[in-house]
């Protein structure tokens, strides 16, 4: 009886804490554009935008266990959809979003089918080849895409009633899109689709035996993931107002994957951390060494991976885990498993278990983060 009460108590506390944290995050997010300089607000906008793309990639890589090195292509598809609609049909910004999303969803669906046959590395490199192929294709389709000169389109403009500057308005629009996207991603993972994905990632054969419709869910994972990348691309066009084939070289795809891994796979706030890394660290690198920012940037990537092999999000968990372990060391009895938990799919390891976090195989990161 007393345990039930205690559980209720901690549960309420947790909810309270979650509500408080959410409120705080929302307050910070909303007040930021009134505090920071326009240029910094622009940077934040870009972080949010990349976070959407990374959240999509996370669905596929982090939760689905399929590695894509071609998400820059979906990003580009979304960006070009928006740019072409704005440029040729003058549709207005908002109308481009559903079209870009739906278009990329279908594109992802189309890709998901052959992707079913390809495992790990092979899928990664085929998608990379696709990312390499896209820029010349965009150049070839000159009548629609404007060829190598690209397309310049209108950026988002604040409506008069808002009384906001352009950067603030843009920020709020992107913030809204990002918030909806991240919530959607979270809910997707909690839905049947998400649970099925996790099951598939952890043990494909077992999941199939358990009745998970493998091919359907893997294909859907690809499609959803592409949708997020497409939304990010569409918003990119709103913010930058310019698209060109060389903006979407395969380097973008690699950057996205690197951002995700640095931020933390299979974590809900990993994409945000990864996006911040991708956005801010090159500038930091340049401040450290103007002669060769690449040297510093490369070293920083390696250094982060050394310090946080499971990504920055995991790092927070590890630090917390260490702290928690110190506190409870004397009271908790040892776990009873005879074998390390990497060798077979077992119950999810406790959050504060660095050994399990370290020993994860590819594409099978520790666990969805608790909020």
């Amino acid at each position: 009886m007393s345990t039930i009460v205690a559980t209720l108590g901690t549960d309420r506390a947790r909810r309270l804490r979650a509500a408080l944290t959410t409120l705080l995050v929302a307050a910070v997010a909303v007040s930021a554009p009134f505090y920071f300089a326009p240029f910094q607000v622009f940077q934040l906008t870009m972080v949010l935008l990349y976070a959407v793309a990374l959240a999509g990639l996370n669905l596929l890589v982090g939760f689905g266990g399929q590695i894509s090195l071609g998400h820059g292509a979906f990003f580009a598809a979304g960006a070009y959809t928006a740019a072409v609609m704005l440029d040729r049909y003058d549709t207005g910004h908002l109308a481009t979003l559903p079209v870009a999303a739906a278009g990329c969803f279908l594109l992802g669906l189309g890709f998901g089918v052959p992707a079913l046959r390809l495992r790990g590395l092979y899928l990664a490199l085929v998608t990379l080849a696709f990312a390499v192929f896209l820029p010349p294709l965009l150049k070839r389709l000159e009548p629609v895409t404007g060829g190598s000169m690209g397309l310049t389109v209108d950026k988002l403009q604040p409506p008069a009633w808002s009384g906001m500057a352009e950067d603030q308005w843009t920020y709020f629009v992107v913030l809204a899109v990002t918030a909806v996207s991240l919530l959607l991603a979270r809910n997707l993972l909690r839905s049947r689709v998400g649970r099925a994905l996790l099951a598939v990632r952890d043990n494909e054969s077992a999941a199939e035996v358990m009745g998970v419709r493998l091919s359907l869910h893997k294909t859907l994972a690809f499609a959803w993931s592409a949708l997020f990348a497409g939304v990010a691309g569409c918003v990119y066009t709103w913010v930058i107002g310019f698209v060109s084939p060389d903006s979407f070289s395969f380097v973008l795809s690699i950057t996205l994957l690197a951002g995700l891994v640095v931020g933390g796979l299979a974590s809900l706030y990993g994409p945000l951390l990864g996006a911040a890394f991708v956005m801010y660290v090159p500038s930091v690198a340049q401040d450290i060494s103007e002669a060769a920012p690449g040297v510093v940037f490369g070293l920083l990537i390696i250094a982060v991976m050394f310090v946080a092999p499971t990504g920055l999000a995991g790092l927070a968990g590890r630090v917390r885990g260490t702290a928690a372990r110190r506190l409870i060391r004397t009271t908790t009895p040892a776990a009873d498993d005879d074998r390390p938990s990497g060798s077979e799919p077992s119950a999810p390891p406790t959050p504060a278990d660095p050994a399990a976090v370290d020993a994860e195989p590819v594409g099978a990161p520790p666990r969805p983060e608790k909020e």
Partner: protein, 293 residues
């Protein structure tokens, strides 16, 4: 008809270039199960070492073995310093570390040697032979010969020496290798050293054709990926066959299929790879992975 053969020769020539780097990629993959994005850049640095030695007055044929030795040591060092610390991390982490290494090495080369194009001594004689109107450069023949020799040496090493046996054992099952008393760390260092050496050979081969600058291997790397994917990522023979297929296919499609043209020819390997992998998910020469529940 002559022209067609000329284009085929051209394709074989570039295919051999891709194959030479793909061999190094395959080596690393066999040992560590990852793709090494920095492989091309390590090869580029090796080539700069050779260039520096030649520029300081050393003869090419003396500089070459020195370069290979330096590359071997360098590859081992990279494994020890950069890869070992993340060996227990998820594979993707290691892959991203190689991406970081790529960026670092590329920028470092630019810092040291600048981005100005350097000429690199051609080890093979100028000119070529004429076979029924088809001109084959000595350099093309030379590259093919060297790639074949490298492949043969690798085969001998792996199949007919005890070190090769140990290397294969580590590549296959590092945990068991450890239990058999094999010093896995050292073997992995050897593997990286070996791959770096093969990469150095690749860099030295292609530098006279592509001209040496820090981005020299970037384009080659993409095609080498394609070659290794097509051939199957575990198989040195597959890497070479894959490289030749990719080279010939993209050259012919670029030259003769108007819809493709030179700009879209990069899509041809993509289509071939996709077609092959849909039939054989492990690539042409790769081993099928057996999934155990």
């Amino acid at each position: 008809m002559t022209e067609l053969f000329q284009q085929v020769v051209e394709g074989v020539g570039s295919g051999a270039v891709y194959a030479s780097l793909a061999l190094a990629l395959v080596l690393i993959h066999r040992f560590t199960g990852i793709v090494n994005f920095a492989q091309g850049e390590l090869a580029m640095i090796s080539t700069y070492v050779a260039w520096q030695l030649v520029a300081s007055g050393m003869s090419f044929w003396l500089a070459l073995p020195v370069t290979l030795a330096v590359s071997f040591a360098g590859g081992m060092l990279v494994e020890r310093i950069v890869i070992r610390p993340v060996q227990n991390a998820p594979e993707l982490t290691t892959v991203i570390v190689t991406v970081g290494l790529f960026i670092f090495v590329n920028a470092m080369a630019g810092l040291i040697w600048s981005f100005t194009v350097k000429d690199f001594p051609q080890p093979f004689p100028d000119g070529g032979i004429d076979l029924a109107g088809v001109r084959v450069d000595w350099s093309t023949l030379g590259i093919i010969a060297v790639v074949a020799v490298v492949m043969g040496l690798l085969y001998l090493l792996f199949q007919h020496t005890s070190s090769g046996l140990v290397m294969r054992a580590v590549a296959c099952n590092p945990a068991s290798a450890r239990l058999s008393g094999i010093r896995v760390g050292r073997v992995l260092m050897l593997g990286w050293g070996l791959a770096a050496t093969v990469g150095a050979v690749s860099g030295v081969l292609v530098a006279p054709l592509l001209f040496l600058e820090p981005n020299m291997m970037g384009g080659v790397l993409i095609y080498a990926f394609a070659a290794a994917t097509l051939g199957g990522f575990d198989s040195p023979v597959g890497a070479v066959v894959g490289g030749l297929c990719v080279g010939v296919a993209e050259t012919l499609a670029g030259a003769y299929v108007d819809v493709v043209g030179a700009d879209l020819k990069v899509g041809v390997p993509l289509v071939i790879i996709l077609a092959v992998l849909l039939v054989r998910p492990q690539g042409l020469f790769g081993r099928a992975a057996v999934e155990r529940a």
